[in-house]
Point group: C2
Chain length 367, copies 2
């Protein structure tokens, strides 16, 4: 089987005349190798018919060659700039004439890559085919699920080790430093993203940054949204704890989120749409006394990208299939007071889901 077979399936499904790929999750899935995305563009164009082309920085050739790319490679050196290589690549794609349509990864390709392609493929229309291209990664292989499981297991070890060290009076930054250190001690080989460690009112911001000047106090919610990477796959876990003690109001608040999370894990199964999952989970929040504090959808796909398809949200009619992996992460946020989110990573099985996240969800008072 050609390594480009998944790309040819996308070409068939979309009817586009070519697909362009840049380094990132889709590139890694197709070619088994990833590259930095900085100031040096690296772009592959796979036409429906004819020879694929790649524009590659000269200093990456040693890493690119082992891929065994089945097409023509145009490299460029720092001192010459990249437009010469793009021009040569464009000339090698005469089939992409005026009126042709090229699908690109809209959420991944940067504008300067697009501008270079537009300059050398005049008259060609570039369309956002992010969803269609990323669909090649929708259903995970057993090997991929094993990597995810390992990333999650190691991340959970790090969380437990961190909790043992949290004390009232520490700053969020101090707790974050402990978590980071523990993630690598647990054997993660990267971070899924910069972790969120947020206490008290900061936990009410879904994507908060840890503060160096806020000292965690008794009664605070303490939210961790984090994950380590293992073998390119990313864990994405959220747990919320209370420090020292928890009020009855916060207990009810927490239990509402937990009920929504539980609902999501109970009802998800193949054949359902992502929209239906979100709808059922959201209803638990919307029918509660805390309906006003809901801010976001239920979850997102998870794999080589931390946020990928399927987006678990109303309006997304993607039908769930075995092998899809996504997060179930309902949350409630009382501005200026507290936030609670409980996030699991689940894989769709033949008759439901299995949660890859094993960390207990029952309310836990720490410190």
């Amino acid at each position: 089987m050609s390594m480009l077979e998944p790309v040819h399936k996308v070409l068939q499904a979309t009817g586009h005349d070519a697909i362009a790929l840049v380094p990132g999750a889709n590139f890694l899935r197709v070619f088994g190798k990833d590259f930095h995305q900085m100031e040096r563009p690296l772009v592959v164009v796979v036409p429906k018919s004819g020879v694929p082309v790649a524009v590659v920085p000269n200093l990456e050739l040693g890493s690119f060659a082992p891929i065994g790319f089945p097409g023509e490679v145009f490299d460029w050196r720092d001192e010459d700039g990249y437009m010469g290589a793009f021009k040569a690549a464009g000339a090698a794609l005469p089939q992409l004439a005026k009126g042709a349509r090229v699908g690109v990864e809209g959420q991944r390709m940067r504008v300067f890559d697009l501008l270079a392609l537009q300059e050398v493929l005049s008259g060609v229309t570039f369309v956002d085919a992010h969803a269609a291209i990323s669909a090649i990664r929708l259903c995970k292989t057993l090997e991929e699920i094993a990597a995810l499981r390992e990333a999650i297991k190691r991340s959970e070890v790090a969380l437990e080790a961190t909790l043992m060290q949290v004390k009232v009076g520490m700053t969020e930054k101090e707790v974050e430093a402990i978590l980071l250190s523990e993630l690598f001690r647990a054997g993660c080989d990267g971070l899924s993203f910069d972790p969120i460690v947020a206490a008290g009112d900061n936990a009410a911001k879904p994507h908060a940054s840890a503060r160096a000047d806020y000292h965690i106090k008794a009664g605070d919610a303490l939210l961790f949204d984090f994950g380590g990477r293992y073998n390119h796959f990313s864990a994405d876990i959220t747990r919320t704890f209370f420090v020292g003690h928890v009020s009855d109001h916060d207990l009810a608040f927490y239990d509402t989120v937990l009920a929504a999370n539980t609902k999501g894990r109970e009802i998800s199964r193949p054949g359902m749409t992502a929209s239906d999952v979100d709808d059922e989970v959201c209803k638990v929040l919307e029918r509660s006394q805390f309906a006003a504090f809901k801010r976001h959808k239920t979850g997102h796909g998870l794999g080589l990208d931390v946020h990928e398809a399927p987006q678990i949200m109303r309006g997304n009619n993607q039908v769930l299939e075995p092998g899809m992996v996504f997060t179930i992460e309902p949350g409630l946020y009382r501005d200026g007071e507290a936030g609670v989110r409980i996030e699991d990573d689940v894989v769709v099985t033949e008759n439901g889901i299995e949660s890859l996240t094993m960390f207990p969800r029952e309310l836990r008072v720490i410190g």
Copy 2:
């Protein structure tokens, strides 16, 4: 002073009718806050005249509000999608009519952001203004240099701690795991990038990935290209060691790179162009017996982005000024055999440069 003053300077310098910003280093410098860039677009448009607008995911409003954005905010919720907010934002920018030019960060903005802007600002031309926008970060403040110095110091502590643990027979992956753990133990609060730990023939690839199946052997070059982040600023350090012993040939190879690195640190001073620095450094390599093994330019700017202006390469006529920070990282790569790179982070002073990197450069045999 308005927080938008740096953006207005870019507008004046470029003559564009508006500048659009997305989360990232420039956004962080202007607004003092960064945001995740995943599936939810967040875009700010600052017109030459009239009220700036921002399109912001609803769940980020709690983090966005404290910025004190001096303009109109259009938020959108997951269930509604983002085009409604873009349309409202476009309608609030009637001055951006047909023929207007909007500068964007070509190396940072993604294609789906651009497509959304193009849809609601019809007839407007979007141009890559990455260099002009990033120029607001060219000269670092004393506070920024202090953060860089701290990131570098902590990274160097981690490197020394790692070297003490390296033994013949370890895999590159094992050494990488030690380095990652030591970076966070040393108090870094993030990674500048996924580190490169490459031995033997792998060191001949400028951007190699650590292998789990290669055991480091005596006589190998062992190259570390890595950095920890501190307070948003990124260290970027390369040192190459030899394991057990070093051949005379490798010694001459190493000394050639060291001579180029030394040259770069000796000659760089304000008033010189980036092109001249690269030229002088490259000549040391090009006039050596190892000229055929040179693969890349001398270096790049360093700050909130790991690779930013000024690019230290021939053809870049940017004049160096006090406060600019860049890397001096000549390298030589013998395919299939060994690679050596020695990278320092330097700040331009009133009459030369100061190397923020203090780690010794003399050839060191470890393990």
